[in-house]
């Protein structure tokens, strides 16, 4: 068995996790899919009485919004 990661290795792992998360967020945003966790946290913090949409509902809403009125696309 491998020894557990020391503090330096843990910092590196954290940095890699953060970088991966940022890359995933960027890729998602490039196709118009935002951050579901950010949405849920926003609803919990600012609208405590409301239940946030499920992931599937939220995903469909974001997909529809991407091609809705008022958007523009480049050449």
């Amino acid at each position: 068995m491998l020894p557990p990661p020391g503090p330096e290795q843990q910092r590196l792992i954290e940095r890699l996790h953060r970088a991966w998360r940022k890359a995933a967020q960027t890729a998602n945003l490039a196709i118009g899919v935002g951050d579901y966790e950010a949405y849920v946290e926003h609803v919990r913090r600012n609208h405590p009485g409301r239940t946030p949409m499920t992931h599937a509902e939220w995903f469909r809403a974001r997909q529809d919004a991407r091609y809705a009125r008022g958007t523009s696309r480049c050449c």
């Binding site: 935002g34 951050d35 991407r66 523009s72 696309r73 480049c74 050449c75």
Partner: protein, 690 residues
């Protein structure tokens, strides 16, 4: 010590940039390596970003890091979400990256690599990136409103309405031209048509999978899609090799045009999740991935530029597009240096996600610089080809005939050595029967990319694979643009008609939707069909119209920016937008005037109509018209094209006049009169963190 080290570093970089530019600009008669071009472009962009964009951010616009942005004020966890700078950069770049910077520079290579390179470098730093940056900033200060709304509020409702008409007209031109590029790339190409046609069932499968089987698992379904696409490219080779299947997938340009029109209508009325969204995911990932792959391949292969620095066609006699260097080089490159469309994107979703005004500098200015890098790479890929191959691919049949022998003879006449064997061998290498007259930029870029990638990853058949992979990647995001663009056009039509007849605006009404879609598809379909039956080859006629429209929109965005700067009482910095604006107006109006009134039938629409009209009156036919009816159609097409060019010119002149009036009023007003949203300070914690 640090300040001096920094200054010395920048001075050295500037010397390096100047040296590379010197090699690019001054070497004649010997081939230079593409790395000089890449190094010159890269260092110039870095210097431009560091100095000019900082000057604009700090002195001219005075970005305020303490000011709350619409993302913070309206934070709804959905559209308005303060997003981290690097993540938002990716979103914005993916939104502005399109087919334009790939096609324009390839066409501009007709004049050699130097004119195109110089305009891309100068244009993006002083015009294109400035437009994107300033529009993003102004939209952020105006509650993330769109360009049309901002123009209405600063220049008046008339200007806003005129701008909307202009935007709709450009949208139609854009879709028509992109559709024509796809048609030209797939005509008489069974491999290409099979591969692109295969994307439809793949996308449908992905859509259903994502909707019902595994909702939200975009990465997974995209991976499946991309693997399927690569398989489709490989299977396409076998389809093309088999005589029965190859015949089934071989269609001429006219048939393909009808297919594309039918596809455009059908795709834009289907629900977005079924076809458009999955295709969008595929095309976005492939677009970014392939461009990155090309960049790495160019760096590894370090190919030589075979195209001369300047060719004789700067005099305007070129076969690919007619017209001298001024104004048509700038019109042809269009999106590679300045793109009016970007002002729509910069006032679209990005300002709703900007976390801090300071981020606008890297996101607005920086992503346009990256787009210009893509343009430089496209130019490189086109210029590493033998000039003979480049011209064989891009000249119309009227200039080079239809066999390798006639083509080689005609091109040798222009001063570029090429043998018929080279032309047929290249065609065989890429798995096609012919490369002649495959105009539209996409096939040329694909051959260039295939050569570069093949030199890095050699192997039998790999050139054909990379060629068709490149065609697929371009066709994929063009088809997505056609689909999404038709929907956007439908909304615009509904809005414009809805201003007069309110019930038309209702998007729930199936009848209104269908009618608006028909108007939109009819609009671009008409120009597409005109393009495939055009004596000059289609691209020759339509690309300048698109370029003029695009530069016109950029001019409108810069007029708006200049007027707003004056209204903000920052008029002493208004030159940063006024100088590129003036240049764009001069280019657009000169090009428009020449396209309408020039006496040369290769340039002027009315002269072309007169030439065909006179032949028609004597019942003579000029190729490719095979009947008097087709002759009449060509004359009508020319007149409509001339009317469209006049429309574009009138739109930009009208907005300019209204802009001058608004600026005059602002100069006479004692206080700032810009319609900004009120200042709200960022909460202290957030300001300290950023």
């Amino acid at each position: 010590m640090n300040a001096w080290a920094s200054r010395i570093g920048w001075a050295l970089l500037s010397l390096f940039a100047a040296a590379c530019l010197g090699v690019v600009a001054l070497r004649r008669g010997e081939t230079i390596n593409a790395m000089w071009l890449i190094a010159a472009a890269g260092s110039v962009f870095v210097i431009g970003y560091r100095f000019y964009s900082r000057f604009i951010a700090e002195k001219a616009l005075r970005l305020d890091a303490t000011r709350a942005t619409p993302a913070q004020l309206r934070n709804d966890g959905l559209d308005y979400v303060p997003t981290e700078r690097s993540v938002l950069f990716g979103h914005h770049f993916a939104a502005i990256a399109g087919a334009g910077p790939l096609v324009g520079p390839v066409l501009a290579s007709q004049m050699g690599y130097l004119p195109g390179t110089l305009w891309i470098l100068v244009g993006v730093i002083f015009a294109g990136a400035v437009q994107d940056f300033v529009t993003l900033f102004l939209s952020t200060r105006r509650d993330a409103r769109s360009l049309g709304e901002m123009i209405r509020s600063e220049l008046g409702p008339t200007a806003g309405g005129i701008a909307m008409v202009g935007i709709l007209a450009i949208m139609i031109m854009l879709i028509a031209v992109l559709a024509l590029i796809v048609v030209k790339a797939l005509a008489s190409s069974p491999w290409g048509l099979f591969t692109v046609a295969a994307t439809i069932p793949i996308a449908l499968f992905m859509g259903i999978y994502l909707r019902h089987l595994r909702p939200g698992k975009v990465g997974e379904v995209s991976l499946i899609g991309i693997v399927s696409l690569v398989l489709a490219v490989i299977v396409g080779g076998h389809v093309a090799a088999d005589p029965v299947w190859a015949a089934a997938f071989t269609f001429d340009a006219k048939a393909l045009a009808w297919m594309l029109i039918a596809y455009g209508f059908a795709a834009s009325v289907l629900p977005v999740w079924l076809l458009l969204a999955p295709r969008d995911y595929l095309s976005t990932f492939m677009k970014i991935g392939t461009v990155a792959l090309l960049a790495v391949a160019i760096l590894i292969a370090a190919p030589d530029l075979k195209m001369p620095a300047v060719t004789r066609f700067i005099d305007g006699s070129g076969p690919v597009w007619s017209g001298g260097l001024f104004p048509f080089l700038f019109i042809t490159i269009a999106c590679g240096a300045v793109s009016g469309f970007h002002s729509l994107v910069s006032s679209g979703t990005t300002p709703k996600m900007l976390a801090n005004e300071r981020d606008a500098r890297v996101i607005g200015y920086g992503s346009m610089l990256m787009e210009a890098c893509v343009a430089i790479m496209a130019l490189t890929a086109a210029c590493v080809l033998e000039p003979g191959i480049y011209f064989a691919m891009n000249a119309p049949a009227a200039a080079i005939g239809t066999t390798p022998e006639t083509a080689a003879a005609a091109i040798a006449n222009w001063g570029f050595a090429v043998t018929p064997e080279l032309l047929s061998n290249t065609a065989r290498d890429i798995g096609e029967t012919t490369i002649l007259s495959r105009a539209g930029g996409a096939p040329t870029l694909a051959v260039g990319m295939a050569q570069i990638l093949h030199s890095v990853m050699p192997g039998a058949g790999s050139m054909a694979f990379w060629y068709h992979y490149a065609i697929l990647f371009e066709a994929l995001f063009i088809l997505t643009t056609i689909d999404a663009g038709t929907r956007i056009g439908r909304f615009m039509v509904q809005d414009l008609v809805g201003a007069v007849y309110a019930p038309f605006r209702n998007t729930e009404s199936w009848a209104a939707n269908a009618l608006a879609t028909t108007v939109c598809v009819g609009g671009w379909g008409w120009f597409l069909y005109q393009g495939v039956t055009d004596p000059l080859g289609g691209i020759n006629t339509l690309w300048p119209l698109f370029g003029i429209a695009n530069q016109m929109l950029a001019g409108i965005a810069l007029i708006f920016a200049t007027v707003t700067l004056i209204k903000m009482k920052r008029g002493h910095y208004a030159w940063i937008t006024a100088v590129p604006m003036s240049w764009l107006l001069i280019c657009t109006l000169t090009a428009g005037t020449l396209k309408v009134f020039s006496a040369d039938p290769k340039i002027g629409f009315l002269a072309h109509a007169r030439k065909f009209g006179e032949a028609l009156a004597q019942e003579q036919l000029i190729a490719p018209a095979k009947s008097l009816e087709q002759m009449r159609q060509i004359v009508l097409n020319d007149r409509i094209d001339a009317a469209l060019a006049l429309l574009f010119m009138s739109v930009v002149i009208a907005v300019f006049v209204l802009g001058v009036r608004a600026a005059w009023q602002a100069l006479r007003a004692p206080a700032p009169s810009a319609q900004e949203a009120p200042y709200v300070a960022l909460p202290h914690a957030a300001a300290a963190r950023s």
